[in-house]
């Protein structure tokens, strides 16, 4: 970048360019927009960015992203602790919550088994799930990994790990679009899949 552009500007452009889906053009546009925006706006944004990393952590029970530990769902005594929906990502929790039909709890794996990407079972919160099932009187584990090869691999591995605990293990019914991500599925489709879950 040319010397005519101050370092503080290039720095932000480069930072934006590293975000997924943002190219150099958009990065420049965002930077110059913020340059002209009121101070209050940039300060709020900066503070939000700092809080994002300093105030959040994993819930020690379900590994969802939370500010309070345990998270509001795990802390809610009105929710059924005997049912656990297992998802790949925190956004998938939101997707299931949107159906309004689920009153149990969650477990976030933070990914799916994919040897190509170097993700094995030990990189996911699987051991923690098995411990949770053994300790907390869970009666049913509903596996809601994405309907794709990696999601299927994860589901099968979970089923084999959970079998010795004797817990009932079910999987969301098919009907979800293959290759799709749970977070983009509309609520009705997801609701049907949840109702039609089957034992694995």
């Amino acid at each position: 970048m040319s010397k005519a552009v101050p370092q503080s500007v290039t720095q932000l452009i480069e930072a934006f360019s590293r975000l997924p889906g943002v190219g150099p053009k958009t990065a420049s546009r965002l930077t110059y927009y913020l340059l002209r925006a009121p101070d209050e706006m940039t300060q709020t944004l900066a503070a939000a960015l700092v809080d994002l990393k300093t105030k959040t952590r994993y819930c020690s029970v379900c590994f969802n992203i939370t500010e309070d530990d345990p998270c509001p769902i795990c802390a809610d005594s009105g929710r059924d602790a005997t049912q656990v929906v297992v998802v790949e990502e925190p956004l998938d929790v939101l997707a299931v919550e949107r159906t309004g039909a689920y009153q149990g709890r969650y477990h976030v794996l933070h990914g799916a088994i994919s040897p190509v990407e170097g993700i094995g079972p030990e990189d996911l919160k699987i051991r923690e799930l098995v411990e949770r099932v053994q300790k907390e009187g869970v009666l049913e584990v509903i596996v809601a990994t994405n309907p794709g090869m990696e999601g299927d691999a994860t589901a099968m591995y979970l089923q084999r790990q959970l079998a010795p605990t004797g817990v009932k293990t079910t999987r969301l019914a098919r009907g979800l679009p293959t290759g799709g991500d749970l977070e983009y599925v509309d609520s009705i489709t997801l609701l049907r899949a949840l109702q039609g879950r089957h034992e694995i």
Binding site: R18, P24, T26, V116, G118, G120, A153, M156
Partner: protein, 406 residues
């Protein structure tokens, strides 16, 4: 089946092309590097989502096009079949910024305006292409012959196409897992899922290939006899990457010529054998960090009077066998689909002697649409030139020389 209209935007040397295609033979001529072949390539690409000439889709984009926009290319066609209604097929390639991952090429497929997967595209247009490079079907590496079987089967068999996509993905994952296990980053009990998927999808591939080769052999043998003018036999010899018959003698010995094509195996039986062989090999697979048996190692040999053409065939014998195989493929596809595929002949006519040329043109006479490229239109008979539509291709533009006079 035929293409009624073709639109190209920033594709190879076509900045913009909108053209209606008539029925019958279309003869594209002109000097080299003007865009004759690119037109055939565009149609093949719409049918298979792959170029016959390059593995890099990026090369299809005309980079000199509009500098203001991100580079892109668009290929579209309206296809009419005898059985189905008119279909609009469109593929858009766009260079996209992928943040940290750098530049990425997006491929968007639309069928009648609806976004589709590659798998749903294949089979919408059926094509058979003849290329000078087809000699590699006999002379080239085994991968060429596997690709040939895959492209042919995918166009007609959705289950095969699905199984192939699954198999390729599982194979990559399983190989990565074997390397992880070799490095003690993973454990052998993680293999179960991938083994299931590999054997199930792999068995569909083996069964499909066996069926295809059995049916092709009958046709290719007859055509080969016509072409060579004698009773000598062309054989297709399928050597699967593992022996899916239950004899359990282990290794394929040199005097075993391959799988008996007349005893069609079902996918269930093949999967069982595949799994058993996989179990015997898993130790070595972990040591070497890769999957050692399966249809990714399948081989197809063409035998002429019992001799392997790839090893002992003369140039002329090889050329005749390739022509027999391609014509057999064409007729096989016509029989399976129930109508003629679109034929694309790139510069192959010039390589044939007059008798073969006449035989080929006669054999494809029933096709709804045939696109041929040539630098020397004078090698065609007056009768053929009379009924062909003749287009001259000059720097990405098409100039009509003469419409078909029918």
């Amino acid at each position: 089946m035929r293409i009624e209209h073709l639109s190209l935007q920033n594709f190879r040397n076509y900045a913009r092309l909108e053209i209606s295609l008539p029925e019958g033979p279309i003869l594209l001529h002109g000097a080299n590097a003007q865009g004759k072949t690119s037109l055939l390539e565009a149609i093949y690409y719409l049918a298979t989502s792959r170029s016959p000439y390059t593995t890099s889709d990026r090369q299809l984009i005309n980079w000199n096009a509009d500098q203001d926009l991100l580079p892109f290319a668009k290929i579209g066609a309206e296809v009419v079949t005898t059985s189905r209604a008119l279909n609009r097929i469109e593929i858009t390639l766009t260079e996209a910024n992928g943040g940290l991952n750098g530049a990425r090429l997006n491929k968007e497929i639309r069928v009648n305006g609806v976004s589709r997967r590659v798998m749903d595209l294949i089979g919408q247009i059926n094509v058979v292409m003849f290329l000078p490079q087809d000699m590699a079907l006999i002379e080239g590496a085994p991968a060429e012959r596997r690709r040939y079987m895959n492209v042919t089967l995918c166009q007609t068999d959705a289950e095969y196409c699905q199984a192939l996509a699954t198999f390729d993905k599982v194979l990559t994952q399983r190989n990565a897992l074997l390397r992880r296990i070799a490095d003690s980053d993973g454990s052998p009990d993680e293999l179960a899922f991938w083994d299931d998927q590999l054997t199930e999808s792999g068995a569909v591939l083996v069964a499909g290939r066996q069926r295809l080769l059995r049916e092709l052999e009958v046709k290719a043998r007859q055509i080969h006899r016509d072409l060579s003018g004698n009773e000598e036999d062309l054989e297709l010899c399928y050597q699967p990457g593992f022996m899916p018959t239950a004899n359990n003698t282990g290794q394929l010995s040199f005097d075993v010529l391959g799988l008996d094509l007349n005893r069609q195996l079902d996918a269930g039986a093949i999967a069982g054998q595949f799994r058993e062989r996989l179990g015997e090999t898993v130790g070595e697979e972990i040591a070497r960090g890769m999957t050692l048996i399966g249809p990714q190692r399948d081989e197809l040999r063409l035998l002429f009077n019992g001799h392997d053409l790839g090893l002992y065939g003369s140039r002329g014998q090889t050329r005749t066998a390739v022509m027999a195989l391609k014509l057999a493929e064409l007729e096989w596809m016509r029989d399976v689909v129930g109508e003629w595929p679109i034929l694309l002949l790139d510069e192959v006519i010039a390589e044939l002697d007059a008798a073969r040329r006449a035989y080929l043109l006669d054999r494809i006479d029933g096709a709804n649409q045939v696109l041929l490229t040539t630098t020397e239109p004078e090698i065609f008979t007056a009768e053929f030139l009379q009924r062909a539509t003749r287009w001259e291709v000059r720097q990405g533009q098409i100039v009509t020389v003469s419409p078909a006079s029918s």
